[in-house]
């Protein structure tokens, strides 16, 4: 792995995770989760685990997001405070 690139990605991922749980618009939260998964996949490619990265990109960023949005379309979009 390349430490500097790794560090940047990891900082980004922590920021995205915090944003995903604090933002009140659930659709944004889901999209942030999608970005989180995708960045995680990038980190894993960097750690030479191509298969897991492939799976995470297909499942975490693809299927899970689709499921979450499908669920959102049948419930409500805004989190109440």
């Amino acid at each position: 792995m390349i430490p500097s690139l790794d560090l940047v990605l990891l900082f980004l991922i922590v920021a995205i995770a915090i944003a995903a749980i604090t933002v009140r618009d659930l659709l944004s939260a889901i999209m942030l989760l999608c970005a989180y998964s995708f960045l995680m996949a990038v980190i894993w490619v960097e750690m030479h685990s191509v298969d897991v990265a492939f799976t995470e990109a297909a499942v975490g960023a693809g299927a899970s997001t689709a499921f979450l949005i499908a669920a959102l379309s049948r419930t409500t979009r805004w989190e109440k405070k």
Binding site: L27, F54, A58, V59, A66, F67, I69, L72, S73, R74
Partner: protein, 164 residues
Amino acid sequence: MNTKNSEAGEGKERAGDVIVETISRLMVPFIQLFALYVIIHGAGGPGGGFQGGVIFGASFVLLVIAFGIVNAGDRFPEGANTAFMSLGVYIYAGVGLLCIIFSRGAAQFLNYGFIPLTTHFEENRALGMDLVEIGIGITVMAVVTSIFFNLAWKREPEEGGEEE
């Protein structure tokens, strides 16, 4: 599927967008081809049954997004979906049981070497693995599609009850 619209998921009223529909109609076969490639190529490179299955399922999700869930759901009958769901795992567990049967009880479950596909023990293993990957692919494809349809589609009570 439009999340702002509280009645999303019905999709009947929405006029189809020509560009979206045409492009997705064009794209779906390629996505499916790529999914098959990923399943088959899992032995030699990154990929495998699970990833391929998810991509295959994603192609149906694309259909749903483009055509609205009712139209897409009609093209993908529930019965076939259920059958596919089970079929994949049958292939997997069946291959495992075949190993016991073919070796007359000498071998263990999932010991693919005993399936008499070729003469070489090791090649049998490789082929057994391919079979298994196909099984995983089929199951995952069917399950992802089925979960997505069930989550996204609000069925009318009478309609939903008939199938089971």
